[in-house]
Symmetry: C2
Subunit: 349 residues, 2 copies
């Protein structure tokens, strides 16, 4: 069924099965396909289409290029006490990050906090997904990932840091709808520029520069994004590289800027058990949310939103009425399905 | 000696002794005075005058108002494993944060990571100071503090969150000069508006709103600051309140927005031991710094700076040539000294 002339709506479970079938045919194992498809469709459900199933063609290409290793056997290679280091051996990002989320949560049960670094994964996708899993286990989550230079470093005309995202989640009395911050350190997520390309729409000024380092509003010419808040976004991204890559003994930025090469992506999941500090955390989160929701809206706005709230509202809407895929994304998935001989769900072909 | 007509330069050790004498006469204990003066002068040395000795008159006033308790006996009230909770009983901020920094560092020695929350402190000042101490112990530091609503919440016309800062430090081979990010979640630190008041200079658009919620460039009319990068700054600040205040069982935002009252300030220091993850951290930080410093500067700029680097350069300059105090700040310190019968150092009277 069409929601608008340029989109086609698809039921979440059908999209997830289609996504998993594409990944399986593209070389992922069955388990890797299921974990990755669940993360991608979670992003689509929340309206973060830039981190959804549009990534699948690239993921399949990365298997062909050897950048994702379906035979990976992630294993623990370091850590002590409340910290652990996992080498993911280039497993799909969702697989490595899910292991990190479980490990951090288990460590937090014993030590009050768990810090699990995972090195050598592929693209982790929407990292709020992993924070959400930890929050469902009634713990606070901090999730960060780091990748190669993709963003202008403040004061330079070159890409010196990545758009490294950070997500922080805290559960109230409904652990399915925690406070859920999920932000990149860029003025905009790179995926939003990719989505603008697919939709063939221009982008706002201040988002990106072209190959000459000049600002551009053409998503097809965008070469690198600018940092959020200038030196703050660039500095925070650099420190995420330290906390996520250098600490995990798989540096990305220094390697890319000097020796060259592509050592993949690294991630970290931190879990905190609120009960280790005292009582009353859950009702206090509810009280905080209610207080913020009661703030007077700015002139012309109808509502004040909590971190992650718009995504949860969109998730409810799309769970009922389907996920609207733009034709550019859909056509690439259908082309891939034909190549991999995967059946296309009815109504999408 | 005068550096410019509107400033007077003072040697750091003389300023630190003067600051400690003022705080002691204002009711701090000797130890509290020394710890606080060291933090304030560290900020002045780095050029962060907004977080330096100009705060002293307010600190003394807070003792008179009962908002700082010189008789406080900070003690551990919660935690397990790698996490600890200290109740500072309204001790001066620097005292509580120094305890948190030592505790987190000690916990990291045993568990790889230490997370020490400290509740009910007063204004913590320049939180990079505490991150710097942890980095000197060759550990990574993450430091956050939370206070009452001082900043517009994105989407609202009201102050719904604080300007909560975060500092992250990582030591290279020179632990005196680590990578040192220190940023507030506001478009600008509130202290910079205070400094503009003292210097009687206008502020840029986009920094603050007046009592009617309209943007202003008059620091005397500035009532609330705007968040960094809109929803990102507001959301990050709210999550720092969760990580710092709600987790430490001393919520500030919900209390201020509903019941009212002023439960003080909370802080957290996280320390990570890089050796718990693997080898080679220190040289890798050096390599990362060198790679960033080698990036080509943007058109018109002479140099690319690392997080904290400008502050360390200013620290070297001011250690040699003195700390330039603007006359507004100096005159308030001299007035306070007269009131408290504290001798004013030669050349400042």
């Amino acid at each position: 069924m069409g929601m608008a002339s340029d989109t086609v709506a698809i039921a979440p479970d059908i999209l997830q099965d289609f996504a998993a079938a594409l990944l399986l045919a593209g070389g992922f194992t069955s388990d890797q396909s299921e974990q990755t498809a669940a993360m991608l469709v979670w992003a689509n459900l929340r309206g973060a289409d830039s981190h959804g199933v549009l990534r699948i063609p690239r993921y399949v290409e990365m298997v062909e290029l050897g950048l994702i290793n379906p035979a990976a056997q992630p294993r623990r290679v370091g850590g002590k006490g409340a910290v652990a280091l996992i080498d993911a051996q280039r497993a799909p990002g969702a697989v490595g990050m899910n292991i990190a989320a479980r490990t951090a949560s288990d460590l937090a049960d014993s030590h009050g906090i768990g810090w699990c670094a995972v090195r050598s994964i592929s693209h982790a996708g929407a990292i709020g997904y992993y924070a959400h899993q930890v929050a469902r286990a009634r713990k606070i989550a901090i999730v960060m990932t780091a990748s190669k230079p993709l963003m202008i470093y403040h004061g330079s005309r070159a890409e010196g840091v990545s758009t490294n995202p950070i997500s922080i989640a805290a559960p109230g009395s409904n652990p399915d709808r925690p406070l859920l911050l999920d932000m990149s350190t860029a003025a905009v997520a790179l995926g939003k520029i990719m989505a603008a390309r697919d939709a063939d729409q221009s982008i706002p000024a201040g988002w990106a520069v072209d190959a000459n380092g000049q600002e551009t509003i053409d998503p097809h010419k965008a070469k690198a994004v600018l940092p959020m808040a200038g030196p703050k976004g660039a500095g925070l991204s650099l420190m995420i590289e330290v906390l996520t890559s250098v600490l995990a003994t798989n540096p990305l930025i220094a390697v890319a800027l000097t020796a060259g090469g592509d050592p993949g992506v690294n991630g970290v999941v931190v879990a905190l058990d609120p009960t280790a500090f005292g009582e009353g955390f859950t009702p206090e989160i509810d009280r905080l949310c209610a207080a913020i929701k009661s703030l007077p809206p700015a002139d012309g706005l109808g509502d004040v939103y909590l971190p992650g709230e718009r995504g949860f509202e969109e998730m409810e809407r799309r769970s009922r009425s389907g996920i609207p895929l733009v034709r550019g994304t859909l056509s690439r998935l259908v082309t891939l399905a034909a190549k991999l001989q995967v059946p296309v769900p009815e109504g999408l072909a």
